[in-house]
């Protein structure tokens, strides 16, 4: 092999390694990064909103042409930031749904399709607020977004949040159930060995089972409460609020289970 072909080969390998590294970095866009983007865009919106309020006050106070122009500009900027922030928030929610285990494929597909529709709607709405728009135009366009948000976006948000929260509770409960099975197996072994009193432990195991059952029941109640009617946008806030309370109760039961496990393990590790 002469020097030229060796140099070509080395360059080829270098390019191959570099591109594969760069590609893997692009793919590494996870929930953490998406969440950071959401926080950043929300901050930009918040700053723009503050500026909008200031300019609005000035315009209402002085009613000059200059103050009107400034108010118009601040409103346009704020609306752009708001819609962009909404899009980034929906994208973060989408990645969270994708990264959540124990969601059934149907549920995941359903939630993701709702989010995708909303994300694309806000994509197409991008830059719809024009510099030539009057205040009235801007208000009308903003009302369009408000209507969309109330009838579609909010529903997609709450459906996703409910499924994510519910799946996380389910995931923890499943892991605790598997711990319980292993503990019970060990307890049988200890009872056979007859070298440790397991009466107290057996009582706690009973309590663990009760709490796991309660958690399951609360989680089911959360879903029933949320999906009681057709998936209407009406009262979606209230329905999600109620479901959230049930899920919190389900999580509290799991925290109790966690406490019982600690007690059981401590008891097993201590001599009578």
């Amino acid at each position: 092999m002469n020097k030229k072909s060796l140099a070509v080969l080395i360059s080829f390998i270098f390019v191959l390694v570099y591109t594969s590294t760069a590609f893997s970095q692009d793919n590494a866009f996870d929930y953490k990064k998406a969440y950071n983007d959401h926080v950043y865009s929300l901050q930009l919106y918040s700053d723009a909103h503050d500026q909008y309020l200031i300019q609005k006050d000035k315009y209402l106070q002085f009613e000059t042409l200059a103050s009107k122009t400034d108010a118009q500009e601040a409103t346009r900027e704020m609306l752009n930031r708001r819609d962009e922030s909404l899009r980034v928030y929906l994208s973060a929610l989408r990645i969270k749904v994708m990264e959540t285990d124990l969601l059934t494929i149907e549920t995941q597909q359903d939630v993701l399709s709702q989010l995708d529709i909303e994300i694309s709607w806000y994509e197409t709405q991008k830059n719809k607020y024009l510099e030539t728009d009057s205040l009235e135009d801007l208000i009308n366009k903003s009302n369009e977004t408000m209507s969309r948000y109330e009838t579609h976006t909010k529903l997609a948000i709450y459906n996703s949040l409910l499924e994510v929260n519910s799946a996380e509770v389910l995931e923890i409960r499943t892991e605790q159930e598997s711990i319980l099975i292993r503990l019970e197996e060990k307890l049988i072994e200890i009872e056979e060995n007859k070298n440790k009193n397991t009466q107290k432990i057996a009582t706690w195991v009973g309590d663990v089972k009760i709490e796991l059952e309660q958690s399951k029941a609360q989680e089911e109640l959360a879903k029933t409460f949320y999906y009681d009617e057709k998936q209407s946008y009406k009262n979606v806030d209230k329905r999600y609020g109620g479901a959230f309370d049930y899920l919190e109760l389900a999580l509290t039961s799991l925290e109790k289970v966690d406490g019982y496990f600690k007690e059981i393990l401590q008891e097993i590790k201590t001599a009578d």
């Binding site: 609306l79 708001r82 208000i139 994510v164 996380e168 923890i172 097993i268 590790k269 201590t270």
Partner: protein, 156 residues
């Protein structure tokens, strides 16, 4: 005769009386200080307990001093030997296997299951779940609905 004799006596006397020499200021100072110290010493020694101690101290001989020095040295030697022995004991204690520090059982005797691999594995898994419980979205609420302002109006 008598007059002659008297004159001789007077001459002799004049010859024997030394000439008056004035003391130097240093000597005067020394005398004053020693007189002063002497007075203080007398006064201090007049106090009964001090007087007794003084008498006792006067009785101390070289033999006594030697006995005390040797006694002190002997005590010091014993102390050093004891210390060396104790340090060796601590070093020997360190040779034992270290007690597991991940979850020390305080105040209770560990059972035979304290180091059981299955129990330790369950414990490790339980700790993981405990951490997962604290990081669920339900608790962190990172993705709660942001409060956007949709009601844009310029009415007074």
């Amino acid at each position: 005769m008598e007059t002659k004799q008297n004159n001789k006596v007077t001459e002799n006397l004049e010859q024997k009386v030394p000439p008056v020499v004035k003391p130097s200021p240093i000597e005067v100072f020394k005398k004053t200080i020693s007189g002063f110290l002497g007075t203080i010493k007398t006064k201090i020694l007049a106090v009964p307990p001090i007087n007794k101690i003084y008498v006792l101290l006067k009785k101390i001989t070289k033999k006594h001093v030697r006995t005390v020095v040797f006694g002190f040295a002997a005590i010091l030697l014993v102390f050093i030997i004891l210390r060396v022995l104790l340090v060796n004991q601590v070093v020997r204690l360190n040779v034992f296997d270290p007690v597991p520090v991940d979850k020390p059982i305080t105040g209770h005797k560990p059972s035979i299951y304290a180091t059981d691999p299955v129990i330790l594995e369950i414990e490790s898994k339980s700790i993981e779940i405990g951490e997962a419980l604290d990081s669920v979205e339900l608790k962190k609420a990172e993705l709660r609905e942001p409060g956007y302002d949709f009601e844009i109006d310029f009415d007074k």
